[in-house]
Symmetry: C2
Subunit: 341 residues, 2 copies
Amino acid sequence: ATTFRASEHQHIRYNPLQDEWVLVSAHRMKRPWQGQVEPPLLKTVPRHDPHNPLCPGATRANGEVNPYYDGTFLFDNDFPALQPDAPNPEAARGACKVMCFHPWSDVTLPLMSIPEIRTVIDAWAAVTEELGARYPWVQIFENKGAMMGCSNPHPHCQVWASSFLPDIAQREERSQRAYQSQHGEPLLMEYGHQELLRKERLVLTSEHWLVLVPFWAVWPFQTLLLPRRHVRRLPELTPAERDDLASIMKKLLTKYDNLFETSFPYSMGWHGAPTGSKAGANWDHWQLHAHYYPPLLRSATVRKFMVGYEMLAQAQRDLTPEQAAERLRTVPEVHYRLGQK
Amino acid sequence: ATTFRASEHQHIRYNPLQDEWVLVSAHRMKRPWQGQVEPPLLKTVPRHDPHNPLCPGATRANGEVNPYYDGTFLFDNDFPALQPDAPNPEAARGACKVMCFHPWSDVTLPLMSIPEIRTVIDAWAAVTEELGARYPWVQIFENKGAMMGCSNPHPHCQVWASSFLPDIAQREERSQRAYQSQHGEPLLMEYGHQELLRKERLVLTSEHWLVLVPFWAVWPFQTLLLPRRHVRRLPELTPAERDDLASIMKKLLTKYDNLFETSFPYSMGWHGAPTGSKAGANWDHWQLHAHYYPPLLRSATVRKFMVGYEMLAQAQRDLTPEQAAERLRTVPEVHYRLGQK
Ligand SMILES: O=P(O)(O)O[C@H]1O[C@H](CO)[C@@H](O)[C@H](O)[C@H]1O
Ligand SMILES: O=P(O)(O)O[C@H]1O[C@H](CO)[C@@H](O)[C@H](O)[C@H]1O
């Protein structure tokens, strides 16, 4: 009888964090691609465009004028999906903010310096604190690239805080709580330890952080970014952990850009223990983490489509998480655009 | 105090079939769109292309030559995500097939005649029977349009059968089973009755079928297609129900094409009671249904991106299901391409 090889034999894997399954069919990478090819990136974004509402000094949709900011800049989303007022007290309420990472439109996180990235991390921690005082969930997320629905090239992320725990937060809450009560330690702490021993899915490690392709990854080059220490929320990070985070983020995002020599699109976001009026409860089963969900599969212009079977039956991937980790490990840590100059 | 209006006030809705939540923020439709605009459709697909592996008489990747079929044509996917052989008996196994709907490449279901669509329905029932004899789940799905990852313009769908219940099938199984044991009738039978009374989310009704935008719809113009009678699986449909299904599908898909005057992209698929060796068990809590998940939001080239917040927190939609149903109701039932000639 043939022995099982993950790279040759289809199999299903379980995601213990979000209680979901994925079908892994690595042999599918052999199939030719004749489908949609994404439009190539517009190469030149001007450093400053006075008509871009995210730029310093620009006028926004509501008539407000942006300051000439020189670090990060946080403001209320002019078209918020969640608003603080609602006709009755039980209704869904929330707040939506936009955070610019840098005054220049022609940079992205991997092209920013480590101190500049550190400023973004501090701003993330601060907004978690500010909105977390009023709301049980503060979702920080970045949509990078037009392919990921990003409608403005200026480097920025969004923050949507809500009066309810969103669906995926609820799933992670249930899974982490159940794991802690069964095993007496946080699911993601134990998971991080195992991956450090096995090594095959690690992408980067540093003094305080780990980056790995999770065993249950759905997107081709999906990663999970975890602190080594048990940390429940962004504001708890020490200065040393924040500096180290800036450095490992720069490495990861440089590897991503280098993989297909493009400004790598993704959606990313932070998950930590719930906040709001119940912030003081016991949330020790939570471990802070960031998810990176990049859509590209084969090249800068050929993405993975999560359609048909994936929408109606189960997520499916075409290379193994171990193969993805291996490729990300071998990609250089110097940005291809800086190497070329 | 202001009274609650779904079209003005954000709110969350529960999907009892898949145990999920969606955030509805209809006021967001006011925001301008500066993001990705999809490439326009290639207008002319030749009726017959001898190099297209889906055409009658063409040679496929494995060297097989297609017959000169004149109705539907079913064959094994040359790059299957699921294969019947696996190194051990407990591993995931399955089969992947492709079904051509018509010998011509330049038609789509809404442009086919009702008897031609009826032939497709009979082929769906037959393949459910064939693969359902061996596998507990037979997923029929159609990815229509390049935007939905479809890599071949020839009208076709896919069938992936598996030795396991996929994730979403498991969710629907749990929800429908729990509802039946609590209320003594199938969830979707009761839901269909309620929608028939309320009418605000109905799109089309016929003697044997209903089409509605479900209360919990995530995609802008998502619909649910339900038989009026309690039917567990496709093969149980009577000849009259099949004819009527062909007719209501033609109407729905014509409305979809007319909405933005384009060949409307979507992923669709059928869900029915599990099959395989346990087909004889009691599955009365299941009601056969089809989901249509179309990505377009504002026009033929501006889609809804399910990214960032949606991937990391919760699905979010920008118009209410009632608004979507209203728009679909008012769109004509004569195809815009036939009206123009
Ligand atoms: O098999 P196809 O049509 O080449 O592939 C398409 O449908 C599959 C099933 O939904 C997806 O996994 C692929 O990402 C998509 O491109
Ligand atoms: O708010 P933006 O950037 O205009 O919008 C983008 O992110 C949102 C949150 O993930 C999504 O709902 C939108 O579909 C996407 O285009």
